[in-house]
Symmetry: C2
Subunit: 747 residues, 2 copies
């Protein structure tokens, strides 16, 4: 228990650090009155969206919490304590004869944990977003002075969100664990099972934030483009377009609030899953360190991230031509290096004599995070072959742009799958080498994958800060343009914006990788829950046989769920976009002064209509995601047989996850690559082919090749910002919902 | 053994029937001299392609056969006889103490089976294609007289291919089984394991035919369009375009030879897999019926198909406006009805007292086939919502066409997965009800899925006849256009061509479904092989635990293989198309007479260049498909541990299959839907929106909406004709290659 003090220390330090960063950003110059006016509209739009969204979430979360309490209370048999039986080489981890937590109490505690998880995630998203939309005009203002200051403001603004997400997840999980174990007097071994509702709550909010937010942002984007550029013939971001503020708000909604909730869910669910896996080792060794180790490891990550973030301004130079990615990368290296130190301390102090095996597992996780940062850059940045191939294919029109883009996108899944595969097998193999008397290699191996996952997530706050850097700089660019700031400022915000695209893309890669590692870990936690209910000792393997027809059919349905969910998400963007198009058309029609530039369009109404359309359109995919695992489990249990329900759900979970990882990778990367192929052409890198060097012309903006690339970019928008990120959430939601609803499928 | 005479009878009857149909087609009027000239060029091009392709196949097949013989001979321990041990309720299906087939003999027999399978598939493809490209001008000529005659000629021409595929697969499997068991004096129980090479040989040829053919057909199509329509500004199918014959040849190469080899592989591999599953029951009951039942069932299918095909002309009317789908559908109903009768006879005579359970399993299979025919029509025909949605989305440009098309394509996987899932679970549940003393419900259940698969494939010859109907009528349309035949003939070939698109699409749906059912069945066969090598009794379950890290990682790699293979296949089309574009440009440049219409382009050279480019471009995906399962098996075995190789391969196989089914469905259906959305617009079904009915205009050919739909159609081409169909082959290839190469991964 030596390092347990680190948990509240890190949680509170993160909160105070976020408060300091927020204060630091807010005290800076908010820019010219023109800048403040635009920023004000974005702020109002964003808050209006959040208000509507969080009201909806609050209502549905309350209903769901009550439903969970009733279902779990009615169906469960209560929770039995987990105890060691036998000795020497013949230890089994069995159960106490009677339930120590009554089934109704279990239901109520699970429902409360759900609400706490949902509230913590929502709070982190709200405050983070509040600061992010306050940082944009300050970044625009800073850009009129220096690149260094602009980077600092944008990154600090983004870091508020990053630290709050990490802090509230850490404090949330540790507080509820402390209350459900020590305060309520339940055994440490069963408390992790009582808090799975927290993970489901986080998933629930993430579904709204990422799916609803993703639909919102792309409906506004596509709608604004189609009605403005195509129909009315006015340029992008023109103030006469009523949808333009909705579009700027959308960037924050998807990338800041959405991705924040996504990683909040990753950290919380994986943390709880890792604690559940620690229970088996704790029961044998009676060292509670095995349960709280994941929390401690993350606490070290908080301090490593603080140091890395603080160092960034020192690497930024005063040269406005410096690539802003350079200081961000240096900061990331510092975070990783300090994470290794923290990992070393945590493992050597807490994990007994064979600590070094788990230290290696953690290293695998940290290395995986770094690998994903580079893989994503390779596939989505204009500096390498993939994006250039797409740009070249644009010469022959939109069809070849789409065909080659699809080929590139499909190809990117290889690096992802191989990296995740190696990480899993390596961390399992290393973990299973740890020789803890009475605990089998299988149990320590699975715990090893949990350590790798937590190791990777140590840098989550930094990654999130870089991610939110994206919409802040994007908005800053828009504000600079709107407000007629000097050319030099535009140069700086352009360069920041382009880096922001890269950081947004790499966060998605990081999120996919964490979802992949999490899947294996959470699946093991699901099996522990099944073992508990079927009274199979925790240290016995419970094979899920893929050649069993129910597992196979469940797997087929799981893979199908991923495809169908993506279809619904993509279609939702189209439907919501048509609503915003109608509204902008109506405003043009009813007030001719808008087109003439004499009266201002009603931006707030466009924001509100988009928000309500996005929330309505997320019903179908949302119900599908939450409902299908439950329906499949019930159908197989009651039509096929008592033991076929949880088997089919297991197949659905695992194969849905694998398919989801690959499809999300495809959507994220193909969208990013199309986007950057367009930027590559706009930057003048594509030239006509000619034997005569004097006749070579740049195929830039306005050429057919550029138009073809714009088609690819537009197609990629709902892929990379709606379907892909929503699939991360879906993958984890499947795990948390089946963990909570397990009593429904298990006899 | 009562019905065993049916097998040679049906095989020979099918051959003679095919010969009769060929004679009947060839004796008909080959059309005007102009028709014959074009048809002659297509014929020469097709034969040139086949010559080049089959030469390549022959060389590689010989090398592979030798490699198989050496690897299996060197690595295997030989084959032990399978014998019943114990009695009453405690029967195990074990192995004889010593090998009855020496390991070198096993290697040589497997290599020979491989060659026979490859040769039989190639022969069926060659003759079928020969007749198909002879039928096109005869169909064109018949269309100048009546719709009824045109349908008859096209369907009979297609049926030659269909019957030869079925006959050669049936005769090939049964002959080699007879030789390897009775003639060589090996026990009946082990002969099915000796002939798995036949399935791999069929897979090997199918890979060339479907992947190489798919690359060829779409490279020619895309290349001809880009260089002709886009660059030279000449219309589609213009004789001045040197690539135009290659394009017409391509239709035959992909749909006739490719799909024929695809279904040859399905039938052969599934037949052998079903025989392997029958071994366990045979060993207990000592009734060899359980092994040869699949062959007998298919024999009944041959006669049912003959009756159905013969009946089609009676349902065709003399009215040129009759929908040609109507007589084809009636013929299919007759095939299905007679298949039920054949299934009834075969099960009641051969499968003992509990025959009716397997009769029900077969019904499930027949119903699944019918369901797929309708599901595909719903999603890819202009009469229903999905295609109309895509057409509507074309109003706002190519991007929305692609976005909504993608959403529709992803959605189509739901019906596919649910239908396959229900078919598998239902046939397993029904089969496991059969109470055969000493045989467990698991064994009879898996055999039930085999019966369902064979039931579905009873109508394969009819489905294939309808499929080859597609390229024949497509070519007939081209010939009619080229040769300036009367308008009435063009009307008939147009209506046949549109039906041909539907029949091609539904064959793909049928192929996917059969691959899905086959996967489960062949996986069970793979496990039987593993059990044999590990000396686990055949009637004991051998769980493949998906929560095992090696199975999970293998699964991740299997799903990735499907994505990467698709990427390679799609990219190959682009690369090969650039070769044909260069050649056409060269011809235009070197002989200005071509553009002026005074000299004829060198069509044969364009065909040859496309053929060699297609074969070169299939190396990368081909090596990936064949190499990856072997490499994964070896790496896991030698890096992770002796038992991890076959476990990882099992994961790769199963999860690769599930992902492959869904991705193939997506590619096939999205391509078909885009194609028909374009046709829907061309037919004048899309109109401008206006409150004033007098102002409504048709958005037909040449409008922006139509151009957007053309982009979707072009994108869909490599999806539906290269990537999708190649994935069917990949799925089955994974099964057959792991069956043959199993000794490499199993200690």
């Amino acid at each position: 228990m030596e390092l347990v003090f680190m948990i509240p220390l890190a949680g509170l330090a993160a909160v105070f650090y976020a408060a300091y960063l927020a204060w630091d950003v807010l005290r800076r110059d908010p820019g010219t009155p023109e800048m403040q006016e635009v920023a004000g509209m974005i702020f109002e739009g964003a808050m209006a969206f959040l208000k509507r969204q969080y009201t909806t979430i609050a209502i549905f979360a309350l209903i769901t919490a009550v439903a969970i309490a009733i279902i779990v209370g009615a169906v469960s048999d209560g929770v039995k304590d987990i105890i060691k039986e036998g000795s020497g080489g013949n230890i089994t981890i069995g159960y106490s004869p009677n339930a120590v937590v009554d089934h109704w109490e279990e239901g109520v505690l699970t429902g409360i944990a759900f609400l706490v998880g949902a509230a913590a995630s929502a709070l982190a998203g709200y405050i983070g977003m509040f600061i992010a939309v306050r940082s944009n005009s300050r970044t625009a203002s800073a850009a009129t002075r220096s690149l260094k200051e602009a980077i600092t403001v944008a990154l600090r603004g983004g870091a508020v969100s990053g630290f709050l997400v990490v802090a509230l997840s850490l404090l949330g999980v540790s507080t509820i664990f402390f209350i459900y174990s020590a305060v309520l007097g339940n055994p440490d071994a069963i408390a992790p099972f009582l808090i799975v509702g927290f993970g489901f709550g986080a998933s629930f909010v993430a579904l709204f934030a990422q799916l609803g937010g993703g639909i919102y942002t792309k409906a506004a984007d596509v709608g604004a483009d189609l009605v403005g550029k195509v129909e009315a013939g006015i340029p992008e971001d023109d103030p006469r377009n009523a949808a333009v503020v909705a579009d700027l708000v959308g960037d924050n909604v998807g990338d800041c609030a959405g991705r924040g909730a996504d990683l909040f869910e990753s950290m919380s669910a994986e943390n709880i899953g890792a604690m559940i896996l620690g229970v088996a080792i704790y029961t044998v060794t009676q060292d509670v360190e095995w349960i709280i180790f994941p929390l401690v490891l993350r606490s070290f990550g908080v301090f490593a991230t603080m140091a890395g973030l603080t160092s960034v301004p020192f690497f930024a130079s005063d040269d406005p031509n410096q690539n802003p990615m350079t200081p961000l990368n240096y900061g990331y290296y510092i975070v990783c290096a300090l994470s290794v130190v923290g990992l070393f301390i945590a493992t050597i102090v807490m994990l007994g004599d064979e600590w070094y095996w788990f230290f290696f597992c953690g290293l695998v996780g940290i290395a995986t995070g770094i690998a994903f940062v580079y893989i994503t850059q390779y596939y989505t940045s204009g500096a390498w072959r993939p994006v250039r191939d797409i740009a070249e294919a644009s010469r022959t029109g939109p069809a070849t742009n789409i065909i080659i883009g699809t080929a590139v996108g499909l190809e990117t899944t290889a690096a992802t799958a191989i990296t995740i595969g190696i990480a899993l097998v390596a961390s399992f193999a290393l973990g299973s080498e740890a020789d803890i008397p009475g605990v089998g290699g299988f149990t320590t191996g699975v715990f090893g994958t949990a350590v790798a996952t937590m190791g990777m997530l140590m840098s989550a706050a930094y990654i999130l800060a870089m991610d939110t850097f994206g919409p802040i700089t994007d908005n800053a660019g828009g504000i600079t343009e709107f407000s007629g700031a000097p050319e030099s400022a535009r140069h700086i915000t352009d360069s920041l914006d382009s880096v922001g695209n890269t950081t947004k893309a790499l966060t998605k890669g990081f999120a996919v990788a964490s979802a992949g590692l999490a899947a294996f870990l959470l699946f093991s936690a699901y099996l522990d829950k099944v073992k508990e209910r079927l009274s199979v000792p925790l240290n016995k393997e419970l094979p899920i046989d893929i050649s069993d027809v129910d597992v196979f059919a469940g797997g087929l349905l799981g893979a199908m769920l991923v495809f169908l969910f993506s279809s619904f998400a993509i279609r939702a963007v189209g439907n919501a976009a048509s609503k915003i198009i109608e509204e902008v058309r109506r405003q043009f029609r009813e007030d001719p002064g808008i087109m003439a530039g004499t009266s201002r369009p009603d931006y707030a109404r466009a924001v509100d209509i988009t928000a309500s359309a996005a929330l309505r359109e997320m019903i179908a995919p949302g119900v599908l995601a939450v409902g299908m695992p439950i329906v499949v489990g019930l159908i197989f249990r009651y039509v096929r047989g008592d033991n076929d329900g949880w088997l089919a759900v297991a197949g659905l979970l695992m194969i849905g996850t694998i398919t989801g990882i690959l499809l999300a990778t495809f959507f994220n990367n193909v969208g990013g690559a199309w986007d950057n192929a367009k930027k590559y052409i706009e930057a003048g890198n594509l030239k006509t082919e000619s034997a005569n060097p004097g006749a070579v012309e740049v195929l830039g903006k306005g050429t057919d090749a550029h138009k073809a690339a714009v088609v690819g970019d537009t197609v990629g928008d709902p892929f990379k910002d709606t379907a892909g990120p929503s699939l991360h959430v879906l993958i984890k939601l499947l795990s948390t919902i089946t963990l909570v609803m397990a009593p429904l499928f298990i006899p």
